[in-house]
């Protein structure tokens, strides 16, 4: 029986997943993964069963690795911003 992950390690995993999700350059993917990370971790918030927590931790660690790779690929080929996003401020020509 593996020891369940500590609350701290879960929180750490949560913050890395959120950070990785935020790093997607496509608006829709970024929003989706942020939303999904928040809701999956909220579901497990009050879970006390150590077996379930371990399984969750293992699964999410694997997912984090895939997410990190996906985010890099997405940044490489990231497109323009969508019309609903804040557009980049138009660059004014700086004098000197």
């Amino acid at each position: 029986m593996a020891t369940p992950p500590t609350r701290q390690s879960l929180l750490h995993l949560y913050s890395s997943m959120l950070r990785t999700s935020q790093s997607f350059s496509s608006y829709n993917f970024r929003q989706y993964f942020v939303r999904r990370t928040k809701s999956t971790f909220r579901e497990i918030q009050n879970e006390t069963d150590p077996a379930k927590l371990s399984a969750f931790y293992d699964e999410k660690t694997k997912e984090l690795a895939a997410l990190k790779r996906s985010a890099i690929v997405n940044q490489l080929y990231g497109g323009w911003r969508l019309v609903v996003e804040d557009q980049k401020p138009s660059k004014e020509k700086s004098n000197s």
Partner: protein, 476 residues
């Protein structure tokens, strides 16, 4: 600083006259140091020669990659056409990439490790697809997409049993590839019944029962309609078809798999079509479910090496198969979450539009798949609405027919009047659609519909209380 002042003065007086003295002054009096860079005004800027053309640099074509951060920055429209295709989920792409790079083996090669690893990946993918629809992995056959699967199932079953059975049943609202396969079979001498649908898009089960004859070999009815989102009662249909021995049931589940729960054994379906790019997978891959017990026999369209139980010869595209498998796995995993999200978005869209625009009709059953909302805006022409909505990627019907201006045959089959069928828009929401996008779309639609109606003489007449259908148009 003196240089700048004097050069400005020089500009006003006359450049050429003063240039030499200014230059001398600048060199002498302003000692440049590291904190004082020279301004752009000191550069000798000359006009381009009159022969210069913007798009032609000395005969070389300059093709700049149009990417983010480039000069011609532009905002992307919102994608609301998830019935046409869906974006590839980044996790799916991540699963596919190894097979695009290092693991390039042929899954049918049995003699080396490259083949074995590709074969294992294909079998894992087969398992994921089978799990999604509650089937056995051995029942799954990979094809190039739902169109090929539909062709294979309909033509295959009909041709295999052509000696004794000559009758096929389908509906009027099927996808083009089903209808066209049936038309082809009609040319070959088969008899096809196209069942009508009720006003809400659902077939009448008594009609179906009455249409089954002793020489019927196949019933083909789609689970979720691609234009209206209507869900057919497949369970009841399956029960009816199962009562008649020797009649097979095929369902086109391209829009249904991964979006609503499906179980081939519960539905009594013998053949099923699945498409990869409708479930956030890659394009160019699909799957067929062909039941083995009791065995469904069909004549293969492709002849060749006998891969995929001999039903679909040709090397499997292991990369795409892996993508479909991962997409199916994710679809099963995320189905409840996606469905709740899409339902919420769909309600938000419908309520938002209904609150501000009147004379809007929802086509098809209200209990259909929420990710496909087909709305008709009366007194507005659908194509002009699409043209005005530049910032939103929408469609008035299926992508296959979006090039023609003909009204949708699906809406006509539902009994929609010609003008309503012309003014329809299909909103397709999916996993990656956000609330902010839906709000933006509602705002735009409301504004554009109002503007187009203000221009429309028909709308004016309606406001004055003239019944448009009572007008005799041919009196000029």
């Amino acid at each position: 600083m003196l240089s700048r002042v004097s050069s400005k003065a020089g500009k006003t007086v006359g450049r050429s006259a003063l240039r030499s003295s200014v230059a001398r002054l600048a060199v002498k009096e302003s000692r440049r140091n590291i904190v004082q860079p020279s301004g752009a005004d000191r550069a000798s800027v000359v006009d381009v020669p009159s022969t210069y053309q913007e798009d032609n640099m000395l005969g070389f074509k300059l093709e700049m990659p149009r990417r983010e951060g480039s000069v011609s920055e532009k905002a992307r429209p919102i994608y609301l056409d998830m019935q046409a295709t869906t974006p590839v989920d980044p996790r799916v792409l991540d699963a596919m990439l190894p097979y695009f790079t290092d693991q390039y083996g042929n899954p049918h090669s049995r003699t080396h490790a490259y083949g074995w690893e590709a074969e294992k990946a294909v079998e894992d993918a087969r398992k994921h697809v089978a799990d999604l629809i509650g089937a056995d992995p051995k029942d799954i056959i990979f094809t190039s997409g739902a169109t090929e699967t539909n062709n294979m199932a309909i033509k295959g079953v009909a041709r295999f049993h052509k000696d004794r059975k000559k009758h096929i049943i389908t509906t009027q609202t099927e996808h083009k590839c089903v209808l066209d396969s049936c038309r082809k079979l009609q040319e070959e001498g088969f008899d096809v019944t196209y069942l009508p649908v009720q006003k809400n898009g659902i077939i009448n089960l008594e009609d179906l029962e009455a249409a089954i004859r002793s020489d019927t070999s196949l019933v083909s009815i789609m689970t979720v309609n691609n234009e209206t989102g209507v869900i057919q009662p497949m369970k009841e249909i399956g029960e009816i078809v199962r009562k008649h021995r020797g009649v097979y049931l095929h369902t086109d589940a391209a829009q249904a798999a991964g979006k609503i729960p499906l179980d081939v054994n519960e539905l009594n379906v013998d053949l099923m079509s699945i498409s990869g790019h409708k479930i956030y997978g890659p394009k160019g891959i699909g799957a067929a479910y062909v039941r083995r017990r009791p065995r469904v026999r069909l004549e293969p369209i492709m002849s060749g090496g006998g891969q995929e139980r001999g039903l679909r010869s040709g090397t499997l595209p292991s990369t795409l198969v892996v993508g479909l498998g991962e997409a199916a796995r994710l679809a099963k995993l995320e189905m409840a979450r996606d469905h709740a999200h899409i339902k919420q978005l769909s309600d938000r869209l419908i309520n938002g539009i209904n609150a501000k625009v009147n004379h809007v009709v929802r086509n098809g059953d209200v209990d259909g798949y929420p990710g496909c909302v087909n709305l008709s805006f009366a007194y507005v022409e659908g194509e002009s609405l699409l043209m005005a909505l530049k910032d939103i990627a929408l469609s008035s019907g299926s992508a296959c027919t979006s090039a023609s201006l003909e009204p949708s045959y699906v809406l006509r089959a539902l009994g929609a009047a010609e003008d309503m069928a012309h003014s329809s828009l299909r909103f397709g929401m999916g996993r990656f659609t956000t609330e902010a996008e839906v709000d933006y779309v509602v705002e735009k639609i409301v504004a554009v519909v109002q503007r187009l109606r203000d221009m429309s003489p028909l709308w004016e007449m309606v406001q004055e209380g003239i019944d448009i259908n009572a007008i005799d148009w041919a009196q000029h």
